[in-house]
């Protein structure tokens, strides 16, 4: 029954609280309902009223009405506690499928303080925080990255039952937080482009695997050189920090190719992803070829990010 109305409810929420990167909680966005504790409170009020009526006791009436008024006031206080809170989503770092996404949220008070604000994706797991008056608080929330491509964070639940716990004021916010999820890296043989390398025939078998690297000699270490290529033996002999220099055996560039792999698309992308990371770590220039896309031969962080982005978005944006 509830499941059937869920889409209706979500559409309605979507209309009522349109997505925005920065949201101030106001009367349009705040819902308020009694909690289960509030139900117990009402039951106690009813019992108190019965005692008052049956004993015609004015003081018991007074206590009943005092608690009833406190209950009514709790609506105002709970609403006030959450209203005026400004939420905005921070930038989130891209991760690989299977890793948790760290989403940063900024909670800002524009006037009074906000107590016991709970944030989360569902009502069961919530992060608690206080926002003091005119202060800013950052909260980190995690989401599992399940699929590569752009991930849109679900609607964020912001709620508070402060001060009495008998009413809950809450809102569902879409802070337009999006994260790019890269494919999950999967180890395997290097999928190199067949037939494009000019000297493929000359070198024959040599075009597979990391054994292709040819040792050129030693040069002096410079900051930024990989530790893996340190020539430790030379250092132990007292010849100073030397780095082994390699050059591509074939003298041509590596090109990671989508078509060189078998299996389904996701698996191929995962293998390519692994090699993009691996080659970037070795600081070896490479190109990436996907159907409808070919990158320049390059190395470095920017190149890596560009390649990962292509892998993440392959077939997604089409």
């Amino acid at each position: 029954m509830i499941e059937r109305f869920k889409p209706v409810w979500q559409r309605w929420v979507g209309r009522r609280i349109p997505p925005a990167s920065r949201v101030e909680l106001d009367h349009r966005r705040i819902f308020i309902l009694p909690t289960r504790v509030g139900g117990t409170y009402a039951l106690i009020l009813f019992l108190l009223l019965l005692v008052s009526i049956n004993y015609q006791n004015s003081l018991a009436y007074g206590l009943t009405f005092l608690m009833l008024s406190v209950g009514v006031l709790a609506i105002l206080h709970t609403y006030r506690n959450i209203s005026g809170l400004v939420l905005s989503g921070g930038h989130a770092r891209s991760v690989f499928v299977g890793e948790p996404v760290q989403l940063r949220l900024r909670l800002e008070s524009t006037g009074h303080g906000h107590q016991a604000i709970a944030l989360g994706w569902d009502s069961e797991q919530l992060e608690q925080t206080d926002v003091e008056a005119e202060r800013l608080v950052e909260v980190g929330l995690t989401l599992p990255a399940l699929k590569r491509g752009w991930m849109r964070a679900p609607r964020l639940r912001v709620e508070s039952v402060f001060p009495l716990g008998i009413f809950r004021a809450w809102s569902w916010l879409d802070l337009e937080q999006t994260v790019l999820i890269y494919p999950q890296p999967l180890a395997g043989t290097m999928p190199l482009l067949q037939g494009v390398q000019p000297h493929a025939e000359d070198d024959g078998h040599a075009t597979t695997g990391p054994g292709v690297d040819d040792y050129q000699g030693l040069r002096l270490w410079q900051p930024g050189d990989s530790m893996r290529r340190m020539h430790w033996k030379a250092w132990s002999r007292g010849q100073g920090l030397m780095v082994k220099e390699f050059s591509d055996l074939s003298g041509h560039d590596l090109c990671l190719d989508f078509m060189a792999l078998g299996g389904d698309i996701e698996e191929r992308l995962s293998r390519l992803c692994y090699w993009v990371l691996e080659l970037s770590q070795r600081q070896q220039p490479f190109a990436l070829r996907l159907p409808g896309f070919i990158s320049a031969v390059d190395s470095g962080d920017a190149h890596r990010e560009a390649c990962l982005r292509e892998l993440a978005l392959y077939g997604v944006r089409a």
């Binding site: 990167s21 005692v51 004015s58 003081l59 018991a60 008024s69 406190v70 107590q115 402060f162 001060p163």
Partner: protein
């Protein structure tokens, strides 16, 4: 709170407030529950504190069940039952104590807090004085503080802050509470419940030996207070009738069996009407006090054959009623044979001297009034003495009193005169009640205390009916004109057994004015708060808002909540927020130009991008954002007006819509 947060352990602040609240709830109960419960409470509190300090472990299931059964058994032994209000209250308090011991998580703490509120309400059934009412504000505030302390917030870990917030909540709730109190319709009890039993209540009883009223006169306990609608009648007419005593066994006067039959006698209103309202304290007896013969509009009250007003149930809680009296009413001109025999009843033997003397009076005075006059003149002419400590009398007590000791209290005089009248063939009976009362000039009401207890005589003649006569007035006019204190001889101390009573220091003006003021306050409390039930509520509401109760209530609630909301939200104080509002406005302005701020993009970066896209307005954009950043982040002193001015100039410079540029979105 979600179900998972209810299972979390109780924060320290909440536990502290709970322990304090429990003490505040239980200590005043000390008089009403078995003493062992107080010991149990001390043990459990200590145990609980030790658990919190990790010195001992939580009690196991066996210990808990043992405590539960043991406590219930103990209450059964102490109260003789587990049913009834006394035992019920003791059980409730026991549950409140034991729950504290076994409390583990927030859900248990909630149960404890709600139990505490309930205990306070039950406490009101035992005590409802002004002081008590004020005192209970303390446990209510602490219980609420404990409830706030259960929240997971920074405030909840500060004891003072939780208490302040709870006090604030309660203060803000007061106006609405008063409105509800005034307007909520008071229903009749839905079903009858066990009433609190008032043990050891002093007061008039349904039989009287001469010493009883002397005993009462040692007590300054309040019996009732009365306010008159018109002027106060003269003091010597203030005879408050409770009941009549018609049966004499030679020593005691007691209520006759006839008087138990509800059989309203005939009487005719005559003369002036006196109307008044009475707030009667719990007496444990069913009869009400009226000024001689009157009538009351109270439901569930009947007039009995001796003109007394009686309720079905004894009066266990203070009650307010309105009554009207006609002091000159003509009462029961025709007397039935049964009533006549009862009013002439005398023991078969004893007191021969009086019988003889009365028979002689009857022979000498044919008219009934003449007999009465002769009796009264006997009291005035002989050396009778009014004293609280009369000498002991022999078996023929009335002979002894009239012709021997000649010293006694109102009961002696009333009893002796009734006996003599009956012996002379005049139907007569003793009336027990109160006479006089102390006028409180601040509130213009009478306070009647136990020492105002009095007994007088009623005699009957054909065609005239019953008439009252007070032999004490003949002996000690001061008792009727001024009061007991003035009537007593100098060697007899007034309220000798209670040296601390403020009544003894009436001659000190300031003590007296404090006492009067305090009494007045209590009377107001009883009349306007405790007595604000059924009839009283209808009267007040009718007088103030006749016919407009519902709109006045709804309007009042709306106004109260509106004012509270205004006070809480302070919409006029959104100055600090307006920078942000202006920035949002700025964002909307640029969005119209197709420029949208990216998530995570700072104000400065956004301004840079915007300036590049809209080079014509770069100056205005940088101007605004620069001022915004300076005010908001660099803490520069700038008025919101300056920021608004910059936004205005930017808006004026921008074209209404620029369709060419569209921001790219990821």
């Amino acid at each position: 709170m979600t179900s998972s947060s209810l299972a979390k352990p109780i924060p320290r602040v909440s536990l502290n407030w709970l322990l304090i609240a429990q003490a505040l709830v239980i200590v005043p109960f000390a008089l009403h529950v078995p003493v062992a419960l107080i010991v149990l409470w001390l043990v459990c509190s200590f145990w609980r504190i030790q658990i919190f300090r990790m010195r001992v472990r939580m009690p196991g299931t066996w210990i808990k069940s043992g405590l539960l059964v043991g406590t219930a058994g103990g209450i059964y032994l102490a109260r003789g039952s587990l049913i009834g209000l006394d035992a019920g209250a003791a059980l409730l308090i026991a549950a409140f104590i034991l729950k504290m011991l076994e409390m583990q998580n927030r859900r248990d703490a909630l149960v404890l807090i709600f139990l505490g509120f309930f205990c306070i309400a039950v406490g009101y059934l035992f005590e409802d004085s002004l002081l008590w009412g004020l005192f209970t504000l303390l446990p209510i505030t602490t219980l609420l503080a404990a409830l706030i302390g259960l929240q997971q917030s920074g405030i909840s870990s500060k004891p003072a802050a939780t208490l302040r917030l709870s006090a604030k909540l309660l203060l803000q709730a007061v106006p609405l509470m008063i409105l509800l109190f005034l307007f909520f319709p008071r229903l009749d009890p839905l079903w009858s419940l066990p009433q609190p039993s008032n043990k050891a209540l002093t007061g008039l009883s349904d039989s009287m030996a001469p010493g009883d009223i002397a005993e009462l006169s040692k007590s300054a306990e309040l019996v009732f207070r009365a306010s008159f609608d018109g002027p106060l009648p003269p003091r010597n007419q203030l005879y408050w009738r409770a009941l009549t005593l018609e049966q004499f066994d030679g020593r005691r006067w007691s209520q006759s069996s006839r008087a138990q039959v509800p059989d309203a006698p005939l009487w005719r209103r005559e003369g002036e009407r006196v109307s008044y309202s009475v707030v009667l304290e719990p007496t444990g007896k069913p009869w009400l006090m009226t000024l001689d013969v009157g009538q009351t509009d109270l439901a569930g009250v009947r007039q009995m054959s001796d003109f007394r007003w009686q309720r079905r149930r004894p009066i266990e809680q203070s009650m307010l009623y309105n009554a009207e009296s006609w002091p000159d009413a003509v009462r029961e001109t025709v007397l039935s044979d049964g009533a006549r025999l009862q009013a002439l009843q005398l023991p078969a033997k004893g007191n021969p001297q009086v019988r003889e003397w009365a028979a002689d009076l009857h022979r000498r005075h044919p008219g009934t009034d003449d007999v009465v006059d002769a009796l009264l003149s006997y009291f005035t002419s002989q050396p009778f003495r009014y004293t609280l400590k009369p000498p002991t009398l022999s078996a023929n007590s009335i002979d002894d009193f009239l012709f021997g000791s000649r010293a006694g209290f109102c009961a002696h005089y009333a009893g002796a005169m009734t006996f003599a009248l009956r012996a002379a063939g005049v139907p007569a009976r003793v009336v027990a009640g109160y006479q006089g009362g102390e006028l409180n000039p601040d509130g213009n009401y009478l306070t009647v205390r136990q020492f105002d207890a009095h007994a007088w005589v009623e005699y009957w003649q054909p065609n005239v009916g019953w008439r009252s006569v007070d032999p004490t007035a003949a002996v000690a006019p001061a008792r009727v004109e001024q009061g007991l204190e003035q009537a007593l001889a100098a060697d007899e101390e007034f309220l000798g057994d209670s040296p601390m009573s403020a009544l003894r220091y009436r001659h000190l003006a300031w003590v007296n004015s404090i006492r009067m003021g305090w009494d007045n306050l209590n009377y107001g409390w009883q009349r306007w708060v405790l007595g604000y039930q059924g009839q009283q509520q209808l009267q007040v509401l009718g007088r103030w808002f006749s016919g407009f109760q519902a709109p006045v209530f709804a309007g009042g609630a709306a106004v109260i909540l509106g004012l509270l909301a205004l006070w809480l939200f302070k919409p006029w104080r959104r100055e600090s927020d307006s920078q942000l509002r202006l920035f949002n406005h700025f964002e909307r302005l640029l969005a119209r130009q197709g420029l949208k701020r990216q998530p995570g993009e700072g104000a400065q970066a956004f301004a840079q991008r915007a300036a590049e896209q809209l080079p014509a307005h770069a100056g205005a954009i940088r101007d605004f954002v620069g001022e915004f950043e300076a005010q908001r982040y660099a803490g520069a002193d700038g008025s919101v007006g300056a920021l608004r001015q910059r936004l205005k100039s930017l808006r004026r410079s921008l074209p209404w819509r620029l369709s060419a540029v569209r921001g790219k979105r990821p």
